[in-house]
């Protein structure tokens, strides 16, 4: 048995083409669930982070929180959530949001704080109110940092959603976990390859976004690789 035979077996199985175990369906589940978790995390973390960054209050607390969050084991949170709240996607969503929120929070805070203080003063000087300064000056100049935060959070969520297949979540992790449980190595390796492709694709998507979707004046800024392995 070697790699090519495994992958050949995996991709030629008719189960991969249609039905709940098809590749298209598993990728769709994975993406949909990850997007859902990211959306909730962003709704919680970004406004809070912008506010903390702008007022400068609570920055130390945010840094400490982000450091502590990095120490939390994903598998532990996911298994505990399912035991406490019952099997189901909602139970898994809570730890995923909790893990995606800290990098977004830090990115929002750092992004706003990174705004040139002279520019902020100038904006106040020409008569902008505080909400206007935040929205029209700080938020645009925080975009590159925010984007880097989204990249970290996305990669993290994709990885955690894979692990969460262990507690019954759908998505590409199913192949890996079911393959391990039934000693179907072709399935495990095929699933792992797809997960890797998805994670690398997400990286690429954010790299392109940083390159082409940002306002021209901000593109020159280097995207700091602030993150962690997942």
């Amino acid at each position: 048995m070697n790699w090519l035979t495994w992958l050949g077996d995996f991709f030629s199985d008719p189960d991969r083409r249609s039905g709940p175990n098809s590749i298209v369906n598993r990728i769709a589940e994975h993406l949909l669930f990850s997007a859902e978790a990211l959306l909730f995390a962003a709704l919680l973390a970004v406004p809070l982070g912008l506010l903390i960054g702008y007022t400068g209050r609570g920055v130390t607390a945010v840094t400490a929180l982000a450091g502590a969050a990095r120490a939390l084991p994903t598998l532990g949170l996911v298994t505990l959530a399912v035991l406490l709240a019952g099997v189901g996607d909602t139970a898994v969503l809570v730890p995923l949001v909790a893990l995606a929120a800290p990098p977004l929070l830090v990115a929002a805070v750092e992004g706003v704080r990174g705004t040139d203080p002279d520019v902020r003063d100038a904006a106040r000087g020409v008569g902008l109110t505080h909400p206007q300064v935040l929205w029209q000056v700080c938020v645009p100049s925080a975009l590159p940092t925010l984007l880097a935060g989204f990249r970290t959070a996305t990669v993290q969520v994709i990885a955690t959603a894979t692990v969460a297949a262990y507690v019954g979540l759908g998505g590409l992790g199913r192949y890996v976990v079911d393959g391990l449980a039934t000693r179907d190595y072709a399935m495990t390796v095929g699933g792992a390859l797809l997960v890797v492709l998805l994670a690398v694709g997400a990286q690429l998507f954010f790299a392109l976004l940083a390159r082409y979707a940002l306002p021209p004046g901000l593109r020159a800024q280097q995207l700091a690789a602030a993150g962690e392995p997942s």
Binding site: T74, L75, L83, S230
Partner: protein, 222 residues
Amino acid sequence: MDGEPIVRWYWIGDHLGYLGDLLADHAVIALLPVLIGLMLAIPLGLACARHPRLYQPLAAVFNIVYALPSLAVFVVLIPYTGLATQATVMIPLTFYALAVLLPTTVDGLRAVPDPVRQAATAMGYGPWHRLAAVELPAAVPYLVAGLRVAAVSSISLASVGALVGRGGLGYLFVDGFQRTFPTPIVAGIVLITALALTVDLLLVGARRLLAPWAVREKGAGR
């Protein structure tokens, strides 16, 4: 799970020795890769700091390594390293550590101002002596910052290894989940977080000992 409390204290009391064994196993699986990563990052970082052409492709590769989900990488290694072996978990963790440590090492080595380097040379320091006495000490604050991220995430990631049969304290998650018994899971989360925070504090302490100026500089504003 009705009526089952989140923590049954007697279970923890009955299993202290067992928890200690798992903690020791976890510390080795998680931290030995960080140490190896550091030993690889220093020579590699030196080469990269001197030859930027080497650094760019390496940085790009490690940026991708960084994003690979751990479970997928563990699984891919099983045919070579075997199920439930330390190597299956420790090899990927080494690469993750290296991916974190290489950029911080390069930044640290580049942070030595040229006049300082030239002064050392003028005082008669050879390249190795200068490296040991000037450049590496100046890079310590950067190295420690990288080590903190690498060590803390390695400790939390190692537990995913439980899904491929070797995850130290991560085994408590699998065990608790299979028996619908939350006590081991809570114990595992607490011990892993405590181990990570302890190592983090030790690294901060090490920085204060090895590079006391770094703390002063930070206190002086910025």
